[in-house]
């Protein structure tokens, strides 16, 4: 018995079309992936298409944000961490924020849970989301969107209680990367799933890049593995190695050498421009970028299998 309509349309698109259809200059764009599964290839395609004036929302603003800044894609950055993991500095972000630089980035600073709550409010269409953070911190002084309200209920001590709230975020488009999806855009992910589902549900449109498109029955053999269902996805895009230099659990490892090298590349504007010219503007799409990495590099990042045990969903006799 199948209830699927015969006229259901597959959501598979190419990356160039997905970006040009759903990302426009001036948009608010969320790129998520918490160290794992960072949608780097999509960020590079935004650079190739010369999209500008974005408000970029990303909890951990790292290398791909530094690259998009250097390519002049971003005018406002909303984030809770601007750093190259434990591997050094992000030269372009620092230049655009620090007093000695042009200071042409509007930076909106949160803590991690403040960003999480913005996505939770956005996904649920709430006017705000309360959290027990921010008392005593200077963050609300530099970010007027972090506000304090009187709770309508008494606190634990029976007295009136004040609590901080953050506003919803509803990006024009959210972009995330995952291991696999079916042609309908049911996205399956494992390992660190981060804030991806909340980001997608908060957005008007969602582009999901994946390592591979798999047959429907692969997804349906393990529906709990689907963290984002088809109805929340606008386009699903096969982009192997689309998260490099970050990693994909079970597919390839993190390119720690690249993370370490970024400190020196981004510290020097000329080196950074040269890097973009070679790796982004010098490639027509991500498959050329992967070609340029070379077989030896891909082999260096490969991982040995560690299979999970299948679970039994049962079937009515």
């Amino acid at each position: 018995m199948s209830t699927l309509a015969a006229n259901r349309k597959p959501k598979v698109m190419g990356l160039r079309d997905a970006i040009s259809t759903y990302v426009h200059s001036g948009d608010t764009v969320s790129l998520e992936g918490f160290t794992h599964a960072i949608p780097t290839a999509a960020g590079h395609e935004i650079i190739r298409q010369g999209i500008t004036d974005l408000t970029l929302v990303r909890m951990t603003a790292d290398i791909v944000v530094d690259q998009m800044l250097a390519a002049n894609c971003i005018s406002t950055l909303v984030s809770s961490f601007v750093g190259n993991s434990s591997a050094g500095s992000l030269g372009e972000i620092r230049r655009r924020i620090e007093a000695s630089g042009p200071q042409n980035l509007n930076y909106v600073e949160y803590s991690h849970y403040g960003m999480v709550c913005r996505y939770l409010a956005g996904a649920q269409k709430l006017p705000f989301y309360p959290l027990r953070s921010y008392f005593g911190s200077d963050l609300p002084k530099v970010n007027p969107e972090i506000r304090k309200v009187l709770s309508p209920y008494p606190g634990p001590d029976g007295k009136p209680e004040e609590i901080y709230v953050v506003p919803p975020i509803n990006p024009d488009v959210a972009i995330v990367h995952a291991q696999r999806a079916d042609q309908w855009g049911n996205v399956q992910m494992w390992g660190l799933t981060g804030i991806q589902a909340e980001a997608v549900f908060s957005a008007k449109h969602a582009i999901v890049t994946v390592e591979e498109i798999v047959p429907d029955d692969v997804v349906r053999s393990d529906p709990n593995r689907t963290i984002i269902p088809s109805h929340a996805v606008s386009a699903v895009v096969p982009v192997p190695f689309g998260a490099h230099p970050s990693f994909i659990q079970g597919y390839y490892d993190r390119d720690n050498d690249f993370y370490r090298s970024w400190s020196a590349i981004s510290a020097d504007e000329a080196l950074l421009a040269e890097w973009l010219a070679t790796w982004v503007h010098g490639t027509t799409d991500h498959s050329e970028y992967v070609e340029l990495m070379g077989a030896a590099e891909r082999e260096r990042l490969s991982v040995a299998p560690a299979m999970s045990q299948p679970v039994n969903y049962g079937r009515r006799r």
Binding site: M59, I97, Y113, F135, S137, G155, D157, D253
Partner: protein, 256 residues
């Protein structure tokens, strides 16, 4: 057993911090010296210590020392992987963490932390990473241990350039109710500063061998109080150093 070997500042700090971790507690650890301290404690005095990583991993059994909080080796063979909203909402804000581990660019005498900027926030001399989860760790973990490798008056300041993460005294000053004791221990190259919670200043309670209280007071930007019961920390043992060097970080990921 006392060693006659030499050891680095990182080894000294790691070993001192490991000794302070109480068995059966739940620790929220970042990568670097906190990871090493937790591993050492799990191998010595606190075998039932549970570690939770900011990436959402609980009960990690890594095949090698992780190089980031989200290293793939933390996920494979782990007991649970949570979403970020579950980790921050249920685990941290839900009050499930006994001890948080943090670092910072600046700390003041009440254990308030700056990891955002040096200079003015609007036009900083130096932009730092910012909160990440540090603000929520300090606010919600029952107590927080801080590791500051360099003990200088530029890091141990009278006034923070910016308060990213607030301890209980600042929470109270704004009319809030603190949910944590804030920073209770600070580990540095010179020794350990301690406080019990709100209302108390960080006080020098222990120093490493060869260091004097005057050295530490001179390197601190506020008038550091010295405990009348100041102790000298027992130097790393051969066993502790061997565990750290040969089993926990044999390839020198953090101990360079």
């Amino acid at each position: 057993m006392t060693t006659t070997q030499s050891y680095s500042v990182d080894e000294l700090i790691t070993i001192t911090a490991a000794r302070e971790l109480v068995d059966n507690s739940v620790v929220f650890a970042g990568i670097g010296l906190p990871t090493l301290a937790v591993s050492l404690a799990q191998n010595t005095t606190a075998t039932n210590l549970e570690v939770i990583y900011e990436s959402g991993v609980c009960g990690a059994h890594p095949s090698e020392l992780p190089s980031t909080i989200a290293d793939a080796v933390l996920i494979t063979d782990s007991e649970a992987v949570l979403t970020i909203s579950a980790l921050f909402g249920y685990v941290l804000q839900g009050g499930r963490i006994d001890v948080g581990f943090l670092g910072a660019a600046q700390i003041d005498k009440h254990g308030n932390l700056n990891s955002s900027v040096i200079g003015d926030w609007d036009a900083p001399a130096k932009r730092l990473p910012g909160s990440g989860g540090a603000h929520e760790v300090l606010a919600n973990a029952n107590e927080t241990f801080v590791i500051m490798r360099r003990h200088t008056a530029r890091a141990f300041v009278k006034e923070l350039d910016f308060c990213t993460s607030a301890g209980p005294d600042r929470v109270i000053a704004e009319g809030g109710t603190p949910r944590s004791r804030g920073v209770t221990k600070v580990f540095t190259e010179y020794g350990v500063m301690s406080r019990a919670g709100a209302g108390e200043e960080l006080t020098l309670t222990a120093i490493h061998r060869g260091i004097t209280a005057e050295d530490v007071v001179a390197a601190t930007g506020w008038e550091l109080q010295v405990s009348p019961e100041l102790t000298v920390i027992a130097p790393p043992t051969e066993a502790e150093l061997a565990l750290l060097r040969d089993e926990i970080d044999p390839s020198g990921v953090y101990l360079r």
